[in-house]
Amino acid sequence: MLDTLLPILIAASLALAVIGAWRRVRLWRQGRSAPVDLLKGLAAMPRRYLVDLHHVVARDKVMSNTHVATAGGFVAAAVLMVLVHGLGLAQGVLGWALLAASATMFAGSCFVARRRRNPPARLSKGPWMRLPKSLMAFSLSIFAITLPAVGLLPEDFGSWILALALCTVLVWGLGEMVFGMTWGGPMKHAFAGALHLAFHRRAERFSTKGGEGNRSTGLKALNLDDRDAPLGVETPSDFTWNQLLGFDACVQCGRCEAVCPAFAAGQPLNPKKLIQDMVVGMAGGSDAHYAGSPYPGKPVGEHEGSADGPIVAREGKALVDADTLWSCTTCRACVEECPMMIEHVDAIVDMRRFLTLEHGNTPNKGAEVLDNLIATDNPGGFDPGARMHWAADLELPLMRDLQQAEVLLWLGDGAYDMRNQRTLRSLVKVLRAADVDFAVLGDEERDSGDVARRLGDEATFQSLAKRNIATLSKYRFKRIVTCDPHSFHVLGNEYGELGGDYEVRHHSTFIAELYDAGRLHFKPWKGGSVTYHDPCYLGRYNGEFEAPRNVLRALGIEVAEMERSGFRSRCCGGGGGAPITDIPGKQRIPDMRMGDVRETGAELVAVGCPQCTAMLEGVVDASAEVRDIAELVADALIAAPASTGERSQTQEAQAAEVL
């Protein structure tokens, strides 16, 4: 009986799966077109899955092995099942292989089950709770069904009742694993995920045989010249189809949730829920069935949307509230952590773009900052002619005068901020000590456009960027050095699309290079214990984790690392315009970060970003002093030993003070 039933079942479920897949694809196809090389993507998919995805998954060894066993077992079992039971090719190794595959899968599903016994808060519940049972049902029933096929049990073992029972279990398993894969359900992730990897919007993130992928963190430009082109994302269908596909790939593992600083601070954002809401919107309906942690302070079930309905309502509720989108610090912790390599930040900025460019609804100080950027080219509304006031006594060489220099020192808007001026002065002191041929743009410099872009004001970003690019194109220089990772990121990763390609160095990288080249000499560190805070836009955005640590090491500092450091560093709360939009939460992100610092017992936290400095210094009753790497280096400078040649007198005569 099984012989007849099984092929039918398998064929039916496969057929249903195909129909489901078509429906799913239709859902995705609601999105806007996107240029993707489908065949190349499909060809690259296995590698992306096995190498890149697993690279992320493997950060959790147990889960990684579990997934390898379960997923590997399943894929093998499914294929073999079709061969063995669907086409009746049970002879020889195939049957045994199927037994082994289903056994492996079963072993994996036991681990899945164990994980589901007391699941951490980040995991979604609901249908996901039945997944281990479904996995077991599938693997066990396949195993059992295959036993007769390889002859371990008699062909007609048991009664028809047993066979029927087995089939029921198998139907359940097949239903979940095959039908559910395309019709919705936990296993959807496998189907959508595979295609998502194949058609990912940032193919450059993945490694190829030729080498490592890059971090590809720059936002993609909007076409503003086309008056009909939509500005950002209003409805789920305004996303590109592969973005929608990406949302659909989410496994709801909640790793993003676990690392999201806004979520931890009790601000109304949960990246996982956001992705799920996009899925709800794509298919239409309410979020009532969502079974994970809600947005802090926002009960589940009150929001609903459809593919062509607004994501954020002008008034009242729609799919997502605006404050959810404005809570994001764009720190990319979620993206970095996502095993499915979903691009949360792109999506959030896409939606912010619509709110800013179409609704004119950037919250709190957002509108003021953007107006300032438009009118004065800096977010504070300061006189553009006052940009160099801080350096009146430094006699900085101007590009306008020199036309060329080895290094263009990009100052950033920190030039207007007394705290950051100390960092800048330190950096100048260091550059002079190392005899670096540098110059600044002076009053010709404008805000890089970072904040405007993160706040969704692509128009202001592009206006600033284009004018900066025009200015930069007047001069010749080898590289840009800046102490602002945000400028670094924008200049290095986002100006390219607009025609400005530059080699940009964060000052820590540059200082490390100078030190390695023997151009800087330090006296030994005498202070207390030091920790280092990785700025998101330096670390996760640009992969620079080592240079700052190398500089600190050169100073004789042994960094007492925080638990969350490096690529897992916790954001200071200062990115993405978050301090400007200032969405309230239960606590402040910088306070939490200072808590991390306190745990290390460090008396000093070294930073490399004006935003981080400002945020961390803003913590009341902080246990540690906040100092930029440039300041530490400037303090430690000593003249070169006599053998390396004399320092020129003029250097000494320049303002030595950091104030």
């Binding site: 006052a386 009146a392 007394m418 001026q421 303002a655 003070e657």
Partner: protein
């Protein structure tokens, strides 16, 4: 961006000044060796530049000619090329920190003394005597005029060759240039006097000669008066005319404006307004000058606070503010603004200890900052944390010495407990601040209070420490700064008794602290002639008492400095306080409800009496030594201070010796009664190495 106006750079001539804050010219009294700038001089200005000051104009009344003697105030001598290398040191030290430095150059004419150094014949347009220095002079001759004009040009050249950024021609304080300007002193009828143009001629020729010598790319400014406040002197309108006249030449790069003339004791006090004056009292004069000139205008005089400075600059009244005493009190003023530490700025209180020393030919020191002017000795403005072990330090006494000791020890990173018997910090400063016009001196305490709170010093107020409480804390170091108490028992005839009911005399402390009700008809006997007696007199008169203040010294308030006694005199005369000198208090006795004070003339022995209802005696302070002797034998160092180490600003040797018993030091009035600065200096030099 806060303090935008302060931090807006400004162009003076070809020079860019990084901010709008200036340390204006004052006599530092630091140049020695015939007027050469010294290491001390250089370090004094280097500290200001390091602290962020935009422009320093050094060398108040630095002379260009040998008949204007520099020795009285150890000012800088620009009459010889020998000064040039010294200037190079000075310029480098300031430029290194991004600051700019100019020097004031002048010929003081009659405004000096003739009885010393080269015994010069002082010169003046019309040979009229100068009252403040009691100096006489000759009527200057044409040849001398041209010689001095040439000297100005040479002096400017020396400043330029020495790498300084500019010179300021002094045409203020009744120096030779404004002696020619002022009809009060210039009675000439030749081409150098009489008409406006004639009176202007000397200054104009100086300006032309200087400009011709140094060229256009060197800053030449002028410091002028805003209103001489003399009926026969230059009024504000006159000064506007003069400023516009010189400005029109285009040869002046900036004007510094000082409100008030200063050739009488009374007007002199205006020039450096003490704590009795309102903030920026003469700003309207500087603003008036600014209205009529194109060159930037600098104005100092009672601008001490960053908010005040910002308000003035923002208002557009002047282009740069002089915060000169403010920088003496805290050379890191600008740095602290930039570091967002405005509350940590040690703010000048206008005690004028600095300038009143200068007028006696003594080096400029700050009443509340012992590190100022002592940078060259290694006394720090910023106390570094110790790298040695953290100690338990107990300080007893919350007066200036105790507060400084506690502050410095806490900055070193030690665990500090401060005991103060009364319920507030300040010690005698608190008493001093009770007098009319003297409340600002409490600013000294105010800063210490903020700092001690910031440094989390354990302050035990209202708590009189005894031997046991101190030793219970198991201190490593005990610093006693317990001060003293009024010394009224010196002469039995005064009838002092510890029993307040019986005592015939009360102390100025009793009066100022409100312990004793003011009488209706009061005699104050002041043996010291310092602040306390004058303050008590002012206080009592303010409360409506009839007051006579008597001293055996040459005049009441004789020991109060030249810029401070006039404000007392204004107030006391206005309140009809009688000031009697040359009489000592012989005896006090009771007669009915009244008291009779018997006074004896110092020079004849003649006695006379006063019938009053209250006799207040100021006879100085007697150290409070009880606690010291109780602890002395329990201490490792037997309370002894190694004077050689102390005077050399070196650590006390006993600090590096091991032992169980605490170290014991005492400082301030509980050792021997001196003044606020002495107590703070004692504390700083002793505690900076804890």
């Amino acid at each position: 961006m806060a303090f935008d106006a302060i931090f807006q750079p400004i162009q003076i001539g070809n020079l860019t000044i990084r901010n709008r804050v200036v340390s204006t010219a004052h006599a530092e009294v630091h140049a020695t060796d015939g007027g050469m700038t010294t290491d001390r001089y250089v370090k004094y200005y280097e500290e200001k530049a390091k602290g962020g000051c935009g422009l320093c104009i050094c060398g108040g009344s630095s002379v260009v000619s040998i008949d204007s003697p520099q020795g009285w105030w150890s000012s800088v001598n620009l009459s010889t090329d020998r000064i040039i290398p010294h200037f190079q040191n000075l310029a480098d030290a300031v430029h290194k920190h991004g600051g700019k430095i100019m020097i004031q150059i002048t010929h003081m004419g009659r405004r000096s003394r003739w009885d010393g150094f080269d015994w010069p014949t002082l010169v003046s347009p019309s040979g009229i005597r100068e009252p403040v220095h009691r100096s006489t002079c000759k009527t200057i001759e044409e040849e001398e005029i041209w010689r001095i004009i040439g000297d100005f040009a040479q002096a400017a050249r020396r400043a330029k060759e020495g790498g300084l950024d500019g010179v300021e021609l002094s045409a203020v304080h009744q120096h030779l240039v404004d002696q020619f300007w002022s009809p009060r002193v210039n009675k000439r009828t030749d081409q150098w006097g009489g008409s406006f143009e004639n009176r202007m001629r000397f200054g104009m020729e100086v300006l032309k000669a200087v400009r011709a010598e140094v060229g256009d790319d060197f800053v030449v400014g002028m410091r002028i008066c805003g209103d001489e406040f003399h009926p026969d002197g230059l009024s504000h309108d006159d000064m506007k005319q003069i400023a516009a006249y010189y400005d029109a030449t285009g040869k002046v790069d900036f004007f510094g404006v000082v409100g008030s003339g200063c050739d009488t004791h009374d007007t002199l006090a205006n020039v450096i307004p003490n704590m009795a004056y309102p903030p920026e009292p003469f700003l309207h004069l500087a603003a008036g000058i600014k209205e009529v000139v194109k060159a930037p205008v600098i104005h100092a005089q009672n601008i001490k606070d960053p908010n005040q400075a910002e308000r003035i600059l923002e208002g557009g009244y002047v282009d740069l503010v002089g915060m000169t005493r403010a920088h003496i009190a805290d050379p890191h003023l600008i740095a602290k603004i930039k570091m967002d530490q405005v509350d940590q700025i040690k703010q000048c209180v206008g005690a004028n200890y600095c300038i009143d020393r200068q007028y006696q030919g003594l080096d400029v020191l700050c009443i509340q900052n012992a590190a100022t002017s002592r940078e060259y000795m290694g006394l720090p403005h910023i106390i570094e944390q110790t790298e040695g072990k953290k100690r338990k330090v107990v300080v007893v006494g919350g007066g200036p010495g105790g507060m400084e000791a506690a502050r410095v020890a806490a900055e070193r990173g030690h665990d500090v407990t401060l005991f103060e018997a009364s319920d507030q910090l300040g010690g005698q400063i608190t008493t001093a601040a009770k007098a009319p016009q003297r409340d600002q001196i409490a600013g000294i305490t105010r800063w210490f209070q903020l700092e001690l709170d910031r440094l989390k010093v354990d302050q035990r107020l209202g708590s009189r420490a005894d031997e046991a409480t101190i030793l219970d804390l198991r201190p490593d170091i005990v610093v006693l700064a317990t001060g003293g108490r009024p010394y009224l028992e010196q002469h039995e005839e005064w009838g002092y008794s510890d029993n307040a009911e019986e005592s015939l005399v009360v102390s100025t402390w009793d009066i100022l602290n409100g312990k004793v009700e003011p009488g209706k008809n009061v005699l104050i006997y002041d043996a010291l002639c310092e602040f306390s007696g004058m303050s008590a007199a002012d206080y009592l008169a303010d409360k409506g008492a009839k007051v006579e203040i008597v001293t055996d010294d040459i005049k009441p308030g004789a020991a109060v400095g030249g810029t401070t006694f006039p404000t007392y005199y204004r107030s006391l005369y206005q309140k009809e306080v009688i000031m009697t000198s040359d009489m000592m208090l012989h005896k006090v006795y009771r007669e009915g409800d009244s008291l009779v004070a018997v006074l004896e003339n110092e020079y004849t022995g003649t006695q006379e009496e006063r019938v009053v209802d209250q006799v207040v005696v100021e006879n100085g302070v007697r150290p409070d030594e009880a606690l010291y002797y109780a602890l002395k034998d329990r201490s490792r160092n037997k309370g002894q201070v190694d004077l050689e180490a102390l005077y050399a600003i070196k650590p006390q040797p006993c600090l590096s010796e091991e032992g169980d018993e605490p170290l014991l030091f005492r400082l301030g009035d509980c050792t021997a009664p001196r003044n606020t600065h002495a107590a703070i200096y004692d504390a700083l030099r002793l505690c900076k190495d804890f």
